[in-house]
Amino acid sequence: MSDIVHDDLTESADDHDSHGHHESTGVDNRKLGMWFFLSSEFLFFGTLITNYLLFKGRDFGPGSIYPVEFYDIPFTSISSFVLLMSSLTMVLAHAALVRGDQNQTRTWLAATGMLGLVFVSGQFFEFTEFVNEGLKLTTNPAASAFFLLTGFHGIHVVVGVVLLLSLWGKSVRQPGGLSPEQGLSVELVGLYWHFVDIIWIVIFVVVYLIQ
């Protein structure tokens, strides 16, 4: 914490103020709030990943089955790649908006949302497969932890898709496209989206690839 303080001790809080009352740190309230929220999200996912790691190696007695026996690595690799690329389209959408290119913004926002949907559908398919093959939430704690972790991540993706599509809807509906201020919303949704992506980067390796 003292590091955060340091910035502020050396520069006066009112350096950037010309008039009225604005952000003492020079970072928009919403953006600052978003970064703190994302920082806190590490603890959410940290707990879930830890659960999985704790249970994945335990012995649940004879005849028990483990999520690792069900993984379809080629399939998950593709959906991981899809999510990774959606981060690219997201950042392109934001870059286009900064340039003032409303058309491209619209396209890339839609593309990001679509890629997100593809990822979620893939996860839905994966879950269905697992359940059909006999791995259920109720099977054992390792299975419970797997479903809760990936499910919780999946819900994050769904929320992101909803946000993206509603932004896209606005950019289509509004005559001049997104306003510069809505650029901040795009930026915030982008931060959230990239965060969901980096969490998957970790999950992909820690849960799926490390044996």
Partner: protein, 685 residues
């Protein structure tokens, strides 16, 4: 003044317009009104939790008590803890944060006023949700178990959550707690956690971003610092309990087996996760009180806080270390020896920053000119009692001693000295200190001192003997003890003490109610104080500051009033009285138009939707369960969208002095953003 012009906006509801009366409270986004609602709600729950404590103490006054049944007792000790922690101390602290943060920082509101209102309503409905278990929950005996007479516990008291606030697995699982009462506790805590997480983000951003000109971080009052630290603790500890509660709810409702030992689940994992949150939670409860005491002691000693940076740093250190000591709640549990030793050591280190605070406080009053007014008495009481709690805390860091002490009344004594003698005394100190600010009137000093005297006596009579009882072998959470254990006499003393505390609280309520209406009109700066909230009229005007203050030092207001002579003694500047009057005058009569965030219906709808969602989850197997979930989610989404759809402020011709403020759920979208003057101003920068 707030200009509220009706305007046509495409929202579900017409914009609320009331500025007084019932609807103004329901729709308010004013941090002061929200604070008042937090305060009264929290105090209401304090009375409930207190009555629960008295019932427990009646039962335990003598051996083999028959006043309560086992089910009632187990329910009452659970809800007593939940109520006092989550529904009293935390929201009461939140009331202070809400009221004081903007005032101490020189701001017109918090960073996200509507999120602030959402926090309050979610908290309120969360509390109602937990207590609705009285009427809706069930608490049958575990499968195969028999209750006296073969019947369920008939009274409503028998149906409240009864697994302890810690909800230890596997007792909290469906096998051993088959009814719905545990679900009420788990989901209720989840809801309260969401409310706190939202406020944590809000407070952090407020503190970082809403400081007035010149208010550098190290010029902020200690109370603001402690708020910041608490908000960080909430931000990083709540996610852990949120996931743990998700896991418990999933176990109970959807058949996962995280904590079901017979399926390979791990009950100790619950303990780890719970205390990873639970220990920082202790500091969440005590740090706000430490902040208030750090404000009160200097004012009533007429000296600056001794070692301001040390006190701030110690607060940060306590918070940081607080994350690394959770396993000391589990010394007799199934953790390896090396971990026991390591956590014993880390626990001991907490005593160091705590000591720094205590010593600095004593140094603050040392050499001062101590006025023993009620707020000061409570602050001094805080220091005295907290020292006892801190010292007994060190004795449980001695791991083998803790093997004897844990789960006995010795622990109960320890944390009540910290949380009642500490946190609650601090909160009362604050309530008396800022009473004139809130109401514009003075409380009755004599009654205040009677309150303090009774409460100090009652606290020591209640919690002092508990040390002894614990060492003599009285185990916690037992609804009866046998006369043979010889624990009877001291239990009687404890119970008498509890009623003395109750009496003192009654005195407080009389004082408050009477003084609020009939008390003397408070002078502008009744305590000759040091911080910005005393430079504005009392009660605080809706816009807080008529003129945005500029600060040049820590305790800026004091330095404006006082100079130092050659010896370093404070000397009141001749123009001080005039200055105070002028400041109050200017702040009470703004020359420019001030735009305030407009009230909104959506926060209360969001809070209500959250509660419906929770009911829906508990009863998802009933035909009306799923519809309830859907309605709850729809209410949540529609209120978030609706709230995104209404501008924070009404549209103005010209932007004169916009509220530094933007209010959005992070990630929610705002189609009318361009109409918000503040945002335009932001772009101009």
């Amino acid at each position: 003044m707030a200009t509220i012009a009706p305007q046509k906006i495409a929202t579900v509801f017409r914009r609320p317009e009331a500025t007084t009366g019932f609807w103004s409270w329901i729709t308010t986004v004013d941090h002061k009104k929200i604070a008042v609602m937090y305060g009264y709600t929290a105090f209401g729950f304090f009375i409930v939790g207190g009555i629960e404590a008295l019932l427990l103490r009646i039962q335990l006054a003598g051996p083999d008590g028959t006043f309560l049944t086992a089910a009632q007792y187990n329910g009452l000790f659970t809800t007593h803890a939940v109520t006092m922690i989550f529904l009293f101390v935390m929201p009461m602290a939140s009331a202070f944060f809400n009221y004081l943060l903007p005032l101490m920082l020189g701001a017109r509101d918090v960073a996200f006023p509507r999120m602030n209102a959402v926090s309050y309503w979610i908290f309120l409905f969360g509390g109602i949700f937990i207590y609705s278990s009285l009427f809706f929950a069930t608490n049958p005996a575990p499968l195969g178990g028999n209750l006296p007479g073969g019947a369920l516990d008939a009274s409503p008291l028998g149906s409240i959550p009864n697994g302890g606030w810690f909800l230890y697995a596997p007792n909290s699982g469906t096998q051993f707690s088959p009814g719905t009462s545990i679900d009420y506790a788990a989901l209720g805590l989840q809801i309260l956690g969401i409310a706190s997480l939202i406020s944590a983000v809000n407070f952090i951003v407020t503190i970082f971003n809403m400081r007035t000109k010149g208010m550098r971080l190290l010029r902020m009052p200690v109370f603001v610092w402690m708020t910041l630290i608490v908000a960080f603790l909430l931000l990083f500890s709540l996610p852990i309990i949120a996931i743990a509660l998700f896991m418990l709810t999933a176990d109970r409702q959807f058949g996962s087996v995280f904590f079901v030992a017979s399926s390979g689940g791990d009950p100790i994992l619950w303990q780890n996760l719970f205390w990873l949150f639970g220990h920082p939670e202790v500091y969440i409860l005590i740090l706000p009180a430490m902040g208030m005491v750090s404000e009160v002691l200097p004012v009533f000693s007429r000296k600056p806080l001794f070692g301001y940076p040390a006190i701030v740093f110690a607060g940060g250190a306590i918070a940081f270390l607080g994350f690394g000591v959770w396993a000391h709640h589990m010394f007799s549990s199934d953790i390896p020896t090396v971990a026991q030793a390591a956590f014993g050591l880390s626990t001991m280190t907490i005593a160091i920053p705590t000591g720094i605070k205590i010593f600095n406080w004593i140094a603050t009053i040392w050499g001062g000119r101590i006025r023993l007014k009620t707020p000061m008495l409570f602050s001094l009481g805080f220091v005295a009692l907290f020292v006892i709690g801190g010292l007994s805390g060190v004795t449980h860091a001695i791991v083998p001693s803790d093997w004897q002490q844990t789960d006995t009344y010795y622990i109960v004594a320890h944390f009540h000295y910290v949380l009642f003698g500490g946190a609650v005394f601090g909160l009362f100190s604050g309530l008396y200190y800022w009473f004139p600010k809130l109401t514009g009137r003075m409380y009755n000093e004599r009654l205040g001192q009677v309150h303090f005297g009774l409460m100090f006596l009652g606290t020591n009579l209640t919690f002092g003997p508990m040390h002894w009882l614990g060492l003599q072998g009285m185990v916690r959470r037992t609804w009866v003890y046998s006369a043979d254990t010889g624990l009877g006499p001291w239990n009687m003393v404890v119970s008498i003490g509890a009623f003395i505390i109750a009496l003192s609280i009654f005195v407080f309520m009389v004082n408050w109610t009477w003084s609020k209406r009939k008390g003397e009109i408070a002078p502008n700066d009744p305590w000759d104080a040091r911080t910005l909230e005393w430079t504005i009229p009392s009660p605080t005007p809706e816009y807080n500051f008529g003129v945005e203050p500029t600060v040049t030092a820590l305790d800026d207001f004091w330095h404006q009033k006082y100079d130092e002579d050659d010896e370093g003694r404070a000397v009141r500047r001749p123009e001080a009285d005039e200055l105070v009057d002028r400041l109050i005058e200017a702040n009470g009569n703004p020359t420019t138009e001030i735009h305030l965030p407009a009230p909104s219906y959506f926060p209360i709808i969001a809070g209500f939707g959250m509660m419906l969602l929770a009911y829906g989850i508990i009863y998802h197997t009933r035909p009306w369960g799923i519809p309830l979930i859907v309605v709850g989610i729809l209410m949540l989404i529609s209120s978030l969208l609706g709230w995104g759809g209404e501008p924070l402020e009404e549209v103005h011709e010209e932007h004169l002095d916009g509220q530094g403020d933007s209010d959005h759920d992070p990630g929610s979208l705002d189609p009318n953003q361009e109409s918000t003057p503040r945002e335009l101003a932001g772009v101009e920068d």
